[in-house]
Amino acid sequence: MSAVALPRQSSVQRGLVDAYNATRRYLIRGKRQPDIIFGSVLFPVIFVVLFGYVFGSSISVPGGNYHSYLMSGLFAQSTLFASSQVAVAVATDMNEGVIDRFKTLPIARSSILIGRSVSTIVLGLPALGVMILCALAVGWRPENGIFDAILGFLLIELFAFALSWLGILAGLIAKSSQAADVISSIPVFLLGFVSNVFVDTSKMPVWLRDFADWNPVSAVVAAGRNLFGNTIGPPPSGVWSLEHPEITTIGLALIIIVVFIPICVRRYSRTSR
């Protein structure tokens, strides 16, 4: 019996087809788990209400509206939570027999991970949409116009894509999904809260302020605020990453992508487990 004739394609073409098929698989799976999508949509709504009204009533930002100030922070923070979820999902995947089967198929080693990463972005879009609607409802406005706003969201999504690879690595290293949750939650909370997401860093103690100012998440938030036209006051002097937040965000995302995709793929295809 002869094998089914395989159409001859270049390895790059094949790799793209494999990645597309893997993404498609994760999207079908995502569609079958409406509870997860529902949760991911509900979460940001709660955040907007919780932080916007509960904290917002006692936090004031000089010369501005706290809701407008807060939204860029919440958009950026949601990418952190998403990367933590990716870590848990990848760890769960790796303990399932189906990944073993995929490894015995003639597909590009990167395809399953690319599928996971891209589908995370796509499945996160409804949540982003709802979050934008909430933001508009509480008074946030993209003051610099629609074009800059779109640019701002593209930047945040680029960062989300890069972060998802850190989540994937955490998931590949972790022995179980519980472990992945712990491993990924610690940096997510540190980076997500010790930052300019909720408050102006200038009133923090010096050591904490330095961390918060140089925290890459702060740069992403600042880039969002610049592009949405929600920036209040000048950036802290001497902090390059906050003085040039857009370049910092793009550069950092590209560095993570270039460095961590190969690391993740190697870790995934390491056969000696």
């Binding site: 087809v17 098929n21 079958r32 788990q33 399932e96 189906v98 003639p106 056969t271 000696s272």
Partner: protein, 321 residues
């Protein structure tokens, strides 16, 4: 191309201190069925994982479908089908979607993948279940779908890791029928099993592994013959001690009494049987049944694995009862 669909030389693999595989060599001719028989932890799954490119060996090398598992892994992957011990189907996808995705990953293209999925669902009696999510499948249905998935790209070599473990007798015989069907089409199959009857039923050759070593190999008949000759068994109408003693004396010094039967080695097979029948007629003892018994694979298995386990080559070989 070699004549062997699977050829492995001195495969070895350790996990930390545990030596899962010490030295396993295999030569499996194209179009035949080989059963890797052994207890849990004998090294069966490790062997399959190495041959299916899931695991690198520490030592030795192997070719599958004519390609080296280490340097030509993708060529190997294009030519094999694998059904693992654990369910390898996606619970959140339907049976049809599962098959289609495997077809797409085998680069058959979307249209051909869907067509193959339809064919295989029909072949494995899963047409009605095709649109059902796999999480609603029974154990037997999952295994059949798993087997169907490994056939999507018409593999030259099929690996079945404990294909019937945990199945009820009905599902098991359905699985056997499906495997026989494949073999009839000329696919080379390497299956692992803990069940002797499964190996006996399905395999052309059996390789017995124990503690990471090949301890016996051959056809089921060769293995049975290797540990002993058949014995002649005389069963009397009732357990009359006097009559039993009489028969035992007639059958020679090696004869033993078990319940209402007497058994003795039948060195010359049917000739011995004929001679015994003549002697019994002379004795005039009421006989219920006389016959030849061959050693079972169970005995082969316990003999070869115990010998090794006890580290005493002189341990008594199972006496054919």
């Amino acid at each position: 191309m070699t004549d062997f669909a699977i050829s492995a030389q001195h495969l070895a693999r350790s996990f930390g201190e545990t030596r899962a595989l010490v030295d396993v060599s295999l030569d499996i001719p194209a179009g035949s069925v080989c059963a890797l028989l052994g207890r849990n932890g004998a090294g069966k799954t490790t062997t399959v994982r190495i041959l299916t490119t899931l695991l690198d060996p520490d030592g030795g090398h192997a070719q599958v479908a004519g390609f080296d598992i280490a340097s030509q892994a993708d060529r190997v992957r294009e030519r094999i089908g694998v059904t693992g011990q654990t369910a390898t189907m996606d619970e959140l996808l339907t049976g049809h979607e599962n098959l289609e995705i495997i077809g797409r990953f085998s680069h058959l293209g979307a249209a051909v993948s869907r067509q193959r999925a339809d064919e295989l669902l029909e072949q494995f009696d899963l047409v009605d279940a095709g649109t059902m999510l796999v999480k609603k499948y029974s154990g037997g249905m999952r295994r059949r779908l798993d087997l169907a998935a490994s056939l999507i790209a018409n593999p030259e070599v099929l690996f079945l890791d404990e294909p019937t473990t945990g199945l009820d007798p009905v599902a098991r015989s359905e699985m056997w029928a499906a495997i026989r069907n494949l073999v009839a089409r000329g696919t080379t199959v390497l299956l692992t099993t803990q069940y002797l009857d499964e190996a006996d039923q399905l395999a052309d050759t059996i390789v017995v592994v124990d503690r990471g070593l090949v301890v016996a190999e051959g056809t089921p008949e060769q293995l049975k013959a290797s540990i002993g000759r058949p014995s002649v068994v005389v069963t009397l109408v009732d357990a009359d001690q006097a009559a039993l003693e009489k028969v035992r004396a007639a059958l020679g010094t090696d004869a033993v009494i078990r319940g209402r039967s007497v058994s003795a080695p039948a060195a010359d097979g049917l000739e011995t049987l004929a001679a015994v029948v003549t002697r019994l007629e002379e004795l005039g003892v009421p006989v219920h049944e006389v016959g030849l018994e061959h050693p079972s694979l169970d005995e082969v298995f316990s003999t070869v694995t115990h010998r090794l386990g006890d580290h005493s080559p002189d341990a008594p070989a199972a006496v054919p009862a």
